[in-house]
Symmetry: C2
Subunit: 394 residues, 2 copies
């Protein structure tokens, strides 16, 4: 376990009263020097006010601070929403004594209710006062909505004898089809690198991590992942080896965050990796694994600990990629449940059912057609998912 | 209410022991003369044995009988599955004393378990004996899986002073994303028409009914809709007026069946029509209405009677068609909940919540961009959906 700090950064999380429960709901990350920044934002055609503001400001490629509230998405609030997002940044900037142009903003929570900007304004002095190098855990808690645990991952690297840090924080994402369950992620690092390269590496890591929990197609109005690099370590990422080394570390951090997100999926009791092999292409494999991972019927069967492979093969068939039903193999961990499109019988099914009782397992679908592979992480679909989402606002 | 008979047809449903519960599980429809037949089948790349058999046989455009079992999908059973589907038709043909080439077959239920063909063979004499003109209600019951009520719709028409009948029977389709919940539908009519025209009219009616409960993208391995026209009434459908008149009646029957299917969706407590107006095209409107109708988060909010329009607008935004967030209106029945992308306040929300408490209501999304319209029927997403699907096989 690392120490959850990143040199040159401070963070904090406080309760400002946005959440009726009195839980932490306002977070701040500050870099002691302007950091190079890059971001990935929702593809939803309806974008929340803070996303619109950040997409504009991030063009400067520089940032000193990010302020985030939970409990209210500041989305569908018209022009007032934009004004409030700007205000939120302005108040934070004033509290920190920095330029408001260097402050980014995120919000997550219910859509269509006015942001309680007065509560945020009133909370700023306390928030700024709370800033400490190991404040990321409070920050992680302050950005939670239906998450049950804060999500933070910290890894150290070393290049040319100098050590550096990659620290990531995220919040979910209800489940594999997160739909409106906003995903927010923030990565801090003390390396130095060009903004263009930073963006490219963030996009690559996102594709390998968060987009493998099938978030992509179902981005919410507020989804945002930001990375800030402040150069404090003196490590410069510019040659090929350094880029590969850093990418690998960044991937690790974001894949672990993605894992934590799925594991804490709304109502989830099981973490399942859907591995597809033997497709005609990697794209085909990804398409099949996403379709299986996103199927309500497959996911409810996981919840019921029912080795109902017929639902899996049905989902494979509707992924709209070439398959030959008579060549499909399906494994639950290493139990071969289906061979050449046919079930392997009741005894094997009993073994597979034991696998399903585990909190984490792997379902492998081999199409036996080519060399394409992909994997997607998903969770089961429980009665509590419906409970959580039927009662969310009440 | 019509009398659920169609001249020249008989039907029956019996318990053959495939279902452990002893419920009806084997159904038969017979036309006294060879009928013209047309069909629409699943687009799933994995097709059940009876679908493969029917797609071959239907090329003759003639049919005398359809035999259907529930409790077993006869899918993913390899070559044995095909042999069993053929056997099933052969046994029925022998019992009826007709050519086996004129018998079509459907199966619905669990995938990957061998079809208990011996039980079907043993049940044939009883099944044939049970054939009566008003046996369609037993047939409708015999094809049910997780359906809670049989679904049958009968309408009379008149052309050139002669009356005729269109009688439809269907089984679900768990919910709006039916996924592996097989949809089977059978329409009998006593008009006469060419096979090509019959196929065209069936495809049109399917597009206007069953495909508007978003079945299309998520077809199961067994989905089948068949129409048989035996000419018994003496009414010939060949000129434009007759075609329009018949299409209208066929649409009515199939739309009503689709409504019954959604209403009996697994665990459903509410029937909701999602109407989209003001899109740039009808296709865009359909895309938006399907995305809203298929959203787990929208559907769980309906179940929770929560007027959470933010989830609706979020689903609108991810339908990937042009929208302007600041122009969107959303109505719950005639309560204007969102105007120009902004919520209309707590008082209106209280009114909208009353609408949500109704067993049936309409959600209208007006994009205010063009003239494209479409509507899709959906249901809410309840705790019982998960219960039903977690326990389905046990």
């Amino acid at each position: 376990m690392e120490n959850n700090k990143c040199p040159g950064f401070k963070a904090a999380g406080i309760a400002s009263g946005i959440k009726k429960s009195g839980a932490l709901d306002l977070g701040l990350i500050v870099s002691e020097k302007p950091a190079v920044v890059a971001g990935v934002f929702t593809k939803n055609r309806v974008k929340a006010a803070p996303v619109i503001l950040d997409q504009e400001r991030i063009q400067s490629e520089k940032c000193r601070a990010v302020i985030v509230n939970s409990g209210n998405a500041n989305c569908c609030n018209g022009n007032e929403g934009i004004i409030n997002a700007e205000q939120m940044a302005r108040f934070a900037a004033a509290g920190l004594g920095i330029s408001e142009e260097l402050v980014l903003v995120s919000s997550t929570g219910v859509i269509g209710e006015p942001l309680p900007i007065d509560k945020i304004e009133a909370g700023i002095p306390k928030l700024v006062k709370a800033l400490v190098p190991d404040g990321f855990i409070d920050f992680a808690e302050a950005i939670m909505t239906t998450d049950t645990v804060p999500k933070i991952v910290c890894r150290k690297g070393e290049l040319n004898g100098k050590s550096f840090t990659v620290l990531g924080v995220a919040k979910g994402v209800g489940m594999i089809h997160p739909d409106m369950a906003t995903l927010l992620g923030y990565v801090c690092t003390d390396v130095r690198m060009e903004a263009e390269l930073l963006k490219k590496m963030l996009v690559t890591a996102t594709e390998r991590s968060i987009n493998r929990i099938t978030v992509d197609g179902d981005t919410s109005t507020n989804d945002t992942v930001l990375i800030m690099a402040n150069g404090k370590s003196g490590v410069v990422i510019n040659d090929n080896d350094a880029v590969q080394y850093f990418q690998n570390l960044l991937d690790q951090v974001m894949i672990e965050l993605a894992r934590l997100l799925v594991k804490d999926g709304e109502g989830a009791t099981k973490l399942v990796e859907i591995v597809v092999k033997g497709a005609l292409s990697d794209d085909d494999a990804l398409n099949v694994s996403r379709t299986v991972a996103g199927s309500n019927l497959v996911k409810t069967a996981f919840f019921g600990e029912d080795a109902n492979w017929g639902r899996i093969i049905g989902a494979v068939g509707r992924a709209n990629v070439p398959v030959d039903a008579d060549r499909i193999d399906i494994l639950f961990d290493d139990v071969v449940m289906v061979k050449g499109g046919k079930g392997c019988g009741k005894e094997i099914e009993a073994e597979a059912t034991l696998v399903l009782k585990k909190p984490e397992f792997v379902v492998t679908v081999n199409l036996n057609l080519g060399k394409g592979t992909a994997s997607v992480m998903t969770c089961d679909f429980s009665i509590n998912y419906v409970r959580i989402n039927a009662d969310y606002r009440s």
